[in-house]
Symmetry: C2
């Protein structure tokens, strides 16, 4: 859907670190910020960007808020890249064939 926001969100290295920490499952903000060099509010801001991009889901659990990776958001990006790869490979193969024919002509 909005793969554009998703790719912009994942372009930031810090946000990829956050995503990596959520690979094994949902975590509250404090646990995510734990051991990171930036402040907790900074992490919150990054989480906001990732959620807005559709890459994370938020589930309030009492005192805390659990963030988890949204598979659908990742799927959107995959669809874009798959389409891009199909076209890129087709164009590449076509160019290679073109070149082979050229070499044959001489």
């Amino acid at each position: 859907m909005d793969y554009e926001d998703a790719i912009a969100a994942l372009a930031d290295p810090t946000r990829r670190v956050i995503i990596d920490r959520l690979r094994s499952g949902a975590l509250p903000v404090g646990a995510i910020a734990q051991g990171m060099t930036i402040s907790r509010p900074a992490v919150s801001q990054h989480l906001r960007v990732l959620s807005d991009a559709g890459l994370l889901t938020v589930t309030p659990a009492g005192n805390r808020r659990l963030y988890a990776i949204a598979p659908e958001g990742v799927a959107g990006l995959r669809a874009y890249l798959d389409s891009l790869w199909d076209d890129a490979f087709a164009a590449f193969a076509r160019a290679a064939e073109e070149k082979a024919k050229e070499n044959n002509d001489e």
Copy 2:
């Protein structure tokens, strides 16, 4: 080469427009810049970023320089996203099962 540079390069909307123009095959700089709102040097700068990220190949052809999408660069990004999707989906399924068991207990 690095998927990190590749995703950062594709995060820019203007650079995605450039990539889209190369989907059907290689083009010289002038043809790419044709019809775009930004100046030709600006396009050159974007092409530089995309090449450095391993997303484009450059082949000098006499007076001009032909830019084409590098399938390998796109493949690197796909690998990262595939890995991310695998983990995200596994965590999602695990969480769903966890929740189902909870509902059973009461």
